[in-house]
Amino acid sequence: MMLTMRREELACRQMVELVTDYLEGALPRRDRKRFDRHLRGCPNCTAYLEQMRTTIAETGRLTPDDLTPEARDEFTRLFRSWTGTGGSDDSGSGGDAPG
């Protein structure tokens, strides 16, 4: 351990810019240690990190718009024209009837 090489402590203002690199595991080992050390002594930055994690988790729960019935019909029609089905071949119109 080379204590003489140890750089000064991170400020909160720097912490908030490193938080993504930290969560992505992209911080060099030494910076990660400085980050962790700061966290241990700083409830505000610990809270900030938690807020970021909450933000990410909430974003992951977003669900983009559902398909409208019109769009569904349109895609059905398109699929038939793309695949050349929809005629009267022996596969019938729906071999799949989930219960």
Partner: protein, 201 residues
């Protein structure tokens, strides 16, 4: 209740010309495709064409898809390629300030420490009712992100692609991807914070 079929299972059925499998896949991804397409092209109508074109690509290419990448990555790669072709070739530049701080400077004292205490949100967000009502504000904040940030946050955090896959799909470097992700997530956090502050009053 049966578990939802995996993408791979649906693809197998699509290869056999199964319409319901195709519709299941479209239902799963169409909204996301539309949102990402929209960041490349001038309006919703063009985005819709790009998305439709992407689905044609899926149906035509399904036999050649070997499953080396995840289906999702393949799908978004097709989309972005088509969107680039259809879109303004020269992509509109984001108003992207690389020095934009994650948190406004006035939130810190001269030493760089937080000027006001910060609290975690868990207790608020864990409340089901509150959490359910966050969606619209969060989606609105996401829609307001500069386009490249929006693409990265959408693919990473909404769709759950890995950083490698996002770099592949969008053709950005890992470092650039991380910067965009950082700016985007920081803005979303700020949006939720102000939402929470407004509600608390």
């Amino acid at each position: 209740m049966e578990a939802a079929e995996t993408d791979a299972e649906l693809l197998t059925r699509i290869r056999d010309g199964d319409e319901s499998a195709f519709l299941a896949l479209v239902t799963r991804y169409n909204g996301s495709l539309q949102r990402v397409a929209r960041t490349f092209v001038p309006n919703e109508a063009v985005a819709e064409e790009v998305v439709q074109d992407t689905w044609i690509g899926v149906v035509r290419g399904v036999d050649r898809f070997e499953g080396r990448s995840s289906f999702k990555t393949w799908l978004f790669r097709i989309l972005v390629n088509r969107a680039r072709t259809a879109g303004v070739r020269e992509h509109r530049h984001d108003t992207f300030d690389p020095t934009e701080p994650a948190v406004p400077p006035d939130r810190f004292d001269p030493s760089g420490a937080w000027a006001q205490p910060l609290a975690p949100w868990e207790s608020d967000v864990d409340d089901r009712l509150v959490a359910a009502s966050w969606g619209p504000s969060l989606m609105a904040a996401l829609d307001e992100l500069p386009e490249r940030q929006r693409d990265v946050v959408f693919l990473r955090d909404v769709e759950g692609l890995s950083s490698d896959d996002v770099c592949d799909v969008l053709g950005v470097t890992e470092g650039n991807q991380r910067v965009l992700l950082h700016r985007g997530r920081s803005r979303l956090r700020a949006a939720l914070e102000s939402e929470l502050t407004a509600r608390g009053r």
